[in-house]
Assembly symmetry: C2
Homo-oligomer: 191 residues x 2
DNA sequence: CGGATCGTTGATCAACTTCAACGGTCGTGG
DNA sequence: CCACGACCGTTGAAGTTGATCAACGATCCG
């Protein structure tokens, strides 16, 4: 049942009729990824907006030295894409890679727009999703620019305790804009 | 004509009938602020989403040492608020202050929601606004976490050359998460 | 067993901050 | 109308945080 999580998510925000659900349904296609496979590579155009039905992915940029810099983790119930690239259909700067075997529901740019035309409730759904997303990103930006390494660590474990179980420490470090070494040192200082 | 800029902005994204425009119109109220006056103070609830019709504002957090950390500048044609506080009606962490005399169009949370119920096209309008905003914030976050001070400076002047004319250098520094001293040194190195 | 991956720890280093002083400009009040 | 203070940008010297480089141990898996 790949669509179960999606409709659960949608139902939390808007009400769709059975017919609308079927229309919405018809715009998606299922894609499975195995660990380490890519949903998107840098320089490609991000044609799909992905709803994570099962699994876990990361989006990141590589700097000139080859360091991964994680921008976002996406797990069950999250949307993931290179938004810039998806919206404007320009080459992506982010790569998106599966960290666990994944089941994704893909929505192409075309279908995204058609769906929004045909099902106005989805317009609201995405407005609501984006609102929350903006609030979170605002916060992350403030944290990134004002917090010390230690404060970032503390706020991470307060905000996403689940992540600690599921994601290698070095990637959490990267998500916070820290090196793995710094992350490790702080962790031990805190005990 | 305080509403001219707003409708120009809306017209770029969606089409409203004359009646719809009047409904939309009716939800806003005009507010003028003089330089240094506050639209929002920390700990207050952000009740209004503000469209900047004229002027320039900054939103920022104060750290424990009293340093301003600028999160956003808002000028003609931009929306500004403490989004977290506005959405969830929780105490604000951001302050919003006029840097020039301003004319604002305020939309209360209640009216925001009513407007979205009554004028579906506005649902689309905000969805489109948020899409672009998300793409930009994503980028800023990546820059904040991966760029050196010099790279941040370069990307700022490439992205917002107008800002250099209008905004004191020390605030641009803060916007980038740098000290004014560092900003100044880089500026001279680059010439 | 052998290799890859991940976290830890130590030593050194560099980028940026902090602290301090100074000079220029602008606006305001005496 | 001038003088003073506020504000802003610049410059230098010293300090700190976190990055870098390097080595090592543990675990997992084929």
């Amino acid at each position: 049942m790949p669509y179960k999580n999606l409709f659960k998510h949608i139902d939390q925000k808007v009400t769709l009729t059975t017919e609308e659900k079927e229309v919405v349904f018809s715009f998606f296609r299922v894609k499975k990824l195995r660990r380490r496979q890519f949903l998107l590579q840098e320089e490609d155009i991000c044609v799909d907006f992905a709803f994570v039905s099962e699994g876990l992915l990361k989006s990141y940029v590589l700097d000139e030295k080859g360091n991964e810099n994680v921008n976002l983790f996406g797990w069950e119930g999250w949307w993931i894409a290179d938004f810039q690239s998806f919206l404007f259909q320009t080459p992506a700067t982010l790569a998106i890679e599966a960290m666990e075997d994944c089941e994704l529901l893909l929505l192409s740019k075309e279908n995204y727009e058609r769906m929004l035309d045909e099902v106005p409730a989805m317009e609201r759904y995405f407005r609501l999703v984006y609102e929350r997303s903006l609030a979170t990103k605002d916060q992350r930006l403030v944290h990134a620019q004002t917090y010390s390494a230690e404060e970032k660590y503390i706020s991470l474990i307060a905000m996403y305790p689940e992540l600690l179980q599921r994601i290698p420490q070095s990637l959490l470090a990267s998500f916070l804009g820290l090196t793995p070494e710094t992350f490790s040192r702080i962790k031990y200082k805190k005990k």
